[in-house]
């Protein structure tokens, strides 16, 4: 308060003094005028103007004189170009600088949190890599020294050994091939105008190397980048080694068994347990055909049911309470109804859930890893299920960058964003991964995996062959001759290297009839009360014969020239060339359907990449209603639903007359009927 007061007083004082000054000046002027007749005096005018400029303002206490001197000194110190054009901005900046705090300790100490956290995470990883490199270099140096010693000690060295050493050295100089590959490929992508900035390429290669060190992968490659709203996804494609595959399959089967037991357990009452165990025993005896998984499942169910009974005997839990409650409920209904009335049964059948392909097969041949920040851990994506793929075909979404985000969409997507991402990856790679003809070949040795893939392959043989051709591991053809440029410019000489995904959402066609039969059998097992199952069976087979026709399988390595879009006019592929300063130009194949999917080829190097939003090109705009039935198709015209003209007034009168007539007749009829009933009874 005191300081403010003093300031005010000062200001007042200065104002007073200035007014006094003026008065004195004017008095002086008057005297000067009288004394000397030189009136227009420059000195006096300047003094006047300066005094006016030095007046301090009421609001800020600053004077224009000081401000101008500060601006001019700043301009002369810094000497920016064309100050006149933006003088007002310049003077504003000077004003702002004046009011900034002189000693900005807070600003110095404060680091932006995001930058700091990323630096803290990034640094240890880089230090680790640095140390590894140092170690390798040291090892190298030591080896060289040892060699030198051996050379000096034994002067007579056989030439062959020397060559071997050289070879070893060569091998050691390069680190792992993946790093070299990624950088090399990125170099080619850069020539084609696609790729990331330098530091991002580096951290990407480091991250991929981290994946590569894992022993369970036989091959690792960078798949691409999908943009999200908050974060971008970097995606790596890995193929598992056979050992790892077997382990995974075992683990998955165990998990499935446990999962399938749980819902059953909840429903089991004591009686049902017995019946089910009997039924499963029956099932085992009846189904002799090779359904190993089924048998295992039922066996496990039997075992666990015993376990549960023992557990529930020992400790009373909620389940028993529920059971008693259920019994009470049941008692409310008269049991006689079951015999006297036919309970109407719904004709609705739940659509058959098509099982997902096992890991290492079809859509799930490769495992995909994803990360949003390159210094974080890679996260494995779950397997793609046919249902997810099918729903993902019907919706169009941007990714958010959070793997656990839910996907609000009209056909409800089963799962979170990680499932959606996996489905989109499967669709993109199956439709856009291409290579020049004969670049890849089918691995003929590995028939083992395909052999016991699905149940009941024996149904039709032709179908089986197709399937084998469709889903097989491939490898780079060692005897591939690079195609000449004029051939590469034609789509006939390009082929798909990933199998097409069927409408069903799988690569191998799954026969739904088998599943339905199994389901019916399961129903038998669970509730052995119904005796009408035989009739149902027949119905079901009829339905499935109509609904589920096996889809045409497109064999692997089909030509890209046959690709066509159903509704769109555009051609699905565009071929481009790189700049001609490379000796043999790179050929780039660009997908118009998944914009952002590219493939390049140079001699013996071929790579696919996807950089984009993960949205398919559609010429028509997306509309969720198009999946509902059309209004006029909702109720098909038949005997029940007929369209007729509205009755006129005359018609209505006639109808009323007829009604009266009928009523009279009916009364007599009713009497007859009642008579008949009495007779029958």
């Amino acid at each position: 308060m005191t300081s403010e007061m003093s300031n005010d007083e000062k200001n007042k004082g200065s104002r007073k003094s200035s007014s006094i000054n003026r008065k004195t000046i004017s008095n002086q002027n008057y005297r000067m005028k009288q004394m000397t007749e030189v009136f227009p005096s420059l000195k006096k005018d300047l003094q006047n103007a300066k005094l006016f400029l030095q007046q301090s303002s009421n609001e800020s206490g600053d004077s224009l004189y000081e401000h101008l001197t500060r601006v001019i000194t700043k301009v002369i110190d810094e000497r920016p170009s064309n100050v006149v054009d933006h003088f007002e901005l310049y003077s504003e900046r000077v004003r702002l600088e004046k009011f900034r705090m002189q000693d900005m300790r807070i600003e110095v100490a404060y680091k932006e949190p995001d930058r700091l956290t990323s630096a803290q995470r990034m640094l240890p990883i880089r230090i680790e890599e640095y140390n590894q490199q140092q170690q390798k270099q040291r090892q190298q140096m030591n080896k060289n020294k040892n060699e030198m010693k051996s050379m000096t000690s034994t002067n007579s060295v056989v030439m062959d050994e020397g060559e071997e050493d050289d070879e070893q050295n060569d091998v050691i100089y390069y680190e792992s091939p993946a790093v070299k590959d990624l950088c090399e490929l990125q170099f080619y992508w850069n020539l084609l105008g696609i790729g990331f900035p330098r530091e991002e390429t580096f951290s990407l290669s480091c991250a991929i190397r981290k994946l590569k060190t894992n022993a369970i992968f036989s091959s690792t490659r960078f798949w691409g980048k999908i943009f999200g709203l908050r974060n971008d996804y970097y995606i790596a494609e890995c193929t598992l080694t056979e050992d790892a595959l077997e382990k995974r399959i075992d683990a998955v089967e165990k998990a499935i068994n446990i999962m399938s037991m749980e819902p059953l357990n909840r429903e089991f009452s004591d009686q049902q347990r017995k019946s089910s165990s009997n039924a499963s025993m029956r099932f085992e005896s009846t189904s002799v055909v090779g359904k190993n998984s089924k048998n295992e499942k039922s066996a496990v169910v039997v075992a666990t049911s015993d376990d549960i009974s023992s557990v529930s005997d020992s400790m009373p839990n909620k389940r028993e309470m529920n059971e008693t409650f259920d019994e009470n409920e049941r008692k409310e209904y008269p049991t006689e109804w079951n015999f006297s009335m036919n309970i109407p049964q719904t004709s609705y059948r739940r659509p058959i859930e098509i099982p997902a392909e096992k890991i290492g097969h079809g859509v799930n041949r490769c495992v995909y890893y994803v990360c949003t920040n390159l210094y974080e851990e890679w996260i494995e994506l779950p397997l793609a299920t046919p249902h997810q793929i099918n729903v993902s075909r019907r919706i169009k979404k941007y990714f958010t960058g959070n793997l656990d985000a839910e996907i609000p969409s009209h056909p409800t997507f089963p799962g979170t964003e990680r499932n959606y991402l996996r489905a989109i990856i499967a669709r993109i790679s199956s439709s856009t991964h291409v290579a020049p003809r004969n670049f890849y070949e089918i691995e003929s040795n590995k028939n083992i995996i395909d052999g016991n893939n699905e149940d009941g392959e024996e149904e039709n043989d032709n179908f089986d062959e197709d399937k084998c051709n469709n889903d097989k591991p491939i490898r780079v053809n060692a005897s591939y001759h690079p195609l000449p440029l004029d051939k590469l410019l034609k789509l006939d000489h390009w082929m798909h290297i990933k199998p097409e995904i069927l409408k069903q959402g799988r690569v191998c066609y799954f026969d739904g009839r088998l599943l339905i039969n199994n389901q019916v059998n399961d129903n038998d097992d669970e509730s052995s009360i119904d005796d009408d199952n035989d009739d149902d069976d027949e119905n079901v087979t009829e339905i499935t014969n109509i609904e589920m026709r096996p889809e045409m399988l497109v064999p692997l390595f089909t030509s890209c020239s046959g690709d066509r879009l159903t509704n769109d006019i555009i051609s699905p592929w565009t071929i481009r060339l790189s700049d001609a300063f490379v000796e043999s130009p790179l050929v780039l194949l660009q997908s118009n359907i998944w914009s952002g999917a590219f493939t390049f080829v140079k001699d013996r190097i071929c790579d696919n990449i996807y950089i984009g939003f993960g949205c398919k090109y559609t010429s028509l705009n997306y509309s969720p209603t198009s999946f509902l039935p059309q209004v006029e198709m909702e109720y098909p015209h038949g005997e029940d639903v007929k369209e007729e003209n509205d009755p006129s007034v005359d018609d209505e009168k006639e109808w009323e007359r007829q009604q009266e007539m009928n009523q009279n007749n009916h009364r007599s009829d009713d009497d007859d009927v009642s008579h008949e009933v009495e007779i029958n009874n």
Partner: protein, 281 residues
């Protein structure tokens, strides 16, 4: 992006995942500098490239410049090979709805005429039955379509950081030479990014968004008012790179290196607006 700092901007551009090829970049940079001097432009910008389906003329390269006022005296140029620049025809407002209805991609031939199927109009009968009256397909020359696309892109999705441009005392809008970049705190707020167009909103409304408003720089429309809300995705990358993608025009990207004057927007896309945005976020 400004051709003055072409190489720096190219480096920023690569954060989008796409780059210009070496030869392409050289051709564009040098030819644009020559174009600037021959047209007496004060500044010239490389706007981006639009993909076509043809294999010979694979892209339309687009550039624009101004003589005095950055918005009033804009001139647009396009090129099929990256060095022979042609003046873009003036945008015809009549053709804007037809452009939005067009379903196909650009063909790479500027004189190609396309027949666009228009949405039918629905007319009620005397008995209140709605009938669809299919309209005649309308003709659309590719050159005009290009002009419309670029106009839409510029007005709807081109953005700039706050106080990049300012209005001089002479009412002429030009570059602010004292622009020193946004800092990280500022870059997190949408109101600090403005649309690169002549403002359409009320001036006082635009000014009222900022506490420390400045009459010279803050009268532009900000991007938080655009009608599909959240039609921009914000990302701040590791090395202080602020990356903004326009979701209603996929391919339109704005990059700004924080605390420096390097910034720019550019478009690498196929020239189709994403009308499905409301379903997609």
């Amino acid at each position: 992006m400004n051709v003055e700092a072409f190489r720096e901007n190219l480096e920023l551009m690569s954060y989008s995942g796409f780059k210009l090829k070496e030869l392409e970049a050289d051709l564009i940079e040098n030819s644009l500098i020559i174009l600037q001097s021959s047209n007496k432009l004060q500044n010239i910008f490389f706007f981006g490239r639009i993909e076509t389906t043809s294999e010979e003329n694979s892209y339309y390269y687009i550039a624009f410049g101004y003589t005095c006022d950055i918005f009033k005296d804009q001139k647009f140029f396009y090129s099929l090979n990256g060095f022979e620049w042609v003046m873009m025809p003036e945008m015809k407002p009549k053709l804007l709805p037809i452009t939005l209805q067009s379903r196909s991609l650009l063909t790479g031939d500027p004189i190609n005429v396309e027949h666009v199927c228009m949405m039918p109009t629905f007319i009620a009968d005397t008995e209140n039955v709605f009938r669809a009256c299919p309209k005649k397909p309308k003709k659309l020359k590719e050159e005009d379509r290009l002009a419309c696309i670029v106009h839409l892109l510029m007005t709807e999705s081109a953005i700039m950081p706050r106080s990049l441009l300012y209005r001089q005392v002479t009412r002429c809008i030009s570059y602010n030479p004292s622009f020193a970049g946004l800092n990280r705190m500022e870059a997190n707020e949408m109101k600090n990014f403005q649309l690169f167009r002549y403002p359409k909103n009320n001036r006082n409304y635009n000014l009222s968004k900022h506490d420390d408003f400045n009459y010279q720089t803050d009268f532009f429309d900000t991007i938080d008012d655009l009608v599909p809300r959240n039609c921009f995705s914000f990302q701040i990358k590791d090395r202080d790179i602020c990356l903004i993608r326009a979701l209603h025009w996929p391919g339109m990207i704005f990059v700004h290196k924080l605390n420096t004057k390097y910034q720019g927007f550019f478009y690498f896309g196929n020239g189709r607006k994403n009308l499905d945005l409301l379903f997609m976020t």
